[in-house]
Amino acid sequence: MRKKPDKDTFFWQGNEACAEAALAAGCRFFAGYPITPSSEIAELLSKMLPKAGGIAIQMEDELASIGAVVGASWAGAKAMTATSGPGFSLMQETIGYAFMTETPCVIVDVQRLGPSTGQATKCGQGDVMQARWGTHGDYTAIALSPNSVQEMFELTIKAFNLAEKYRTPVTLLADETIAHMRERATMPPKENIEIVNRRKPKPNEKAFFGLEEVPPMPSVGEGYNLAVTGSTHNEYGIRFTADPEVHRKLVERLNSKIQNHADEIAEVETHNIDECKIGIVAFGCTSRAIYEAAESAEEKGVAIGYARLKTLWPFPEKTVRALAETAEKIIVPEMNLKQVFYEVQRVADGSAEVIPLNKIGGGELITPEELTQKILESARN
């Protein structure tokens, strides 16, 4: 007899898991603009949020979507938008604003194949560097990369938690494959889901933009006479557009409050990184090929170690460096033209030879066979 499925087990689409997670994380405001392959998130949240007393609104474009998200966040709501490459491009200026004003919010970028309109319905991983460097000025990004439907759920919650903890925009850098595939996923009991909320000010706390690494954040309408600005400002939100010290102090803190916690933020699935000949660094849908490829190569006597990056930014340097110290060679499979490759090369710093494995076009995935072949080839030479 077939076992009756647990009531907390679902056969979800990736985008569905993302919407469910947003709700579970406490998201109560969504603003977005339709774009393949992320639209299901907007559709589902439009159905789900009002039932939970929240709001989902379709705005006139992506500029307005992220703008409304920032406004809602200052009004006290956990807020999110979902888009794909072209929309992510349009949002970049406001992502910088959210960083500068320390506005927690979540941006889901379900990557498709660019540049430009490219192949709009096909999978790609070409927004990795945009998630890191997309906005202008000195900026430190947090971006997470799920490789299963289950992780769409888990990392969406983590994205909200990191946004609230560090008061910064967080990108969930998903891809078309993970967003549109369906697989088994479980929702943990509510009490087991860790939820982080922004720290509200204690009485007499008035410095909402400094004095400590992550300052407390009040909302508008709470009587604080909040001054929020994307211009350089002092600890109290007052604009200082020429003072070099005020700028240095602010922007250095905004960057270091994330960089100082890079190890804490980094989440990496590892296998044999301490004793391997060939290493693999992979992320997102592409990383689904590493398990089978590692098994096949190990059967042929090649010791494999891998680091599967759930956190892309800040780059998990510690783990990748550890892998580079043992592995002779590191293969970096990705569905773009070497975006993470150069990052691995920088971190490896000559300790291991870094070998790219790239594939773009038509949404074709890098198969376990292709990766196995690359491993065996690299092991021989």
Binding site: A64, S65, G67, V70, G71, A72, W74, T94, S219, I238
Partner: protein, 276 residues
Amino acid sequence: MTETFSMKNYLRDLPLPFCAGCGAMTVMSEFLRAAYELGHKDLSKFVFCSGIGCSAWIPSPHFMADSVHTLHGRSIPAATGIKLMRPDLNTVIFGGDGDIVGIGLSHFIHAARRNTDILVIMVNNMIYGMTGGQVAPTTPLGSKTTTTPYGSFEHPLDAARLAAAAGACYVARWTTAQPKELKESIKKAINMKGFRFIEATSQCQTAYGRRAGFKNAGEMLKWFKENAIPIEQAEKMDEESLTGKIVVGEFVQRQRPTLVETVYKMIEEAKTVEKG
């Protein structure tokens, strides 16, 4: 009211950034006077949003109130997010013509269409003032600016008529030479719901007036007085005789379901639906 009105009661103790003779000062003082006359001893019932430009600095950070100073053109989206989550707050936007109907035009039209419950006060100085006097979507045809040194070859936008056509509940235009009318419109608009738009045609002697041939800000105000045509009178005039005139008055005043009303009604209905 026993106390007399003083702007200082509503402002942070910071130097104001405006040039001598700037019309933004008039808009700032008439807004605060309006709030005072409506019985607001402070601005705690308000939240202010602005974008980038000289008039964005009217509330931010000068008003002793919550102010969110956003990006160029994006005050309306941010205000939309705030108002939807905090419908109890009176959400007011200050912005220039470049900010509101140049780079931010799409949001302006859609907010009027949605009947978003915000009051937008646009200081129309007919120029990009902060960046040094470049042509704006509101610059009169033929005006010399730094990017139209031979005179502007574009027709200006009539933002008030656009707002009215797009669905605003209240639209008025006055010049800074009519501060009393401006204040009365602000008072009326503060207490209304839905999308409200007040355009204040304003003097920028520094970046517009001096290139357009005005000797000082006072001359610009004189020009406003001489060329302001009440809307009732303008309706009887043809397009040609209205060229170069500033049509002032109340363009529209109406009620229709506002965004806050329709959204919260939808939420109540959604809660009664069993399965999605």
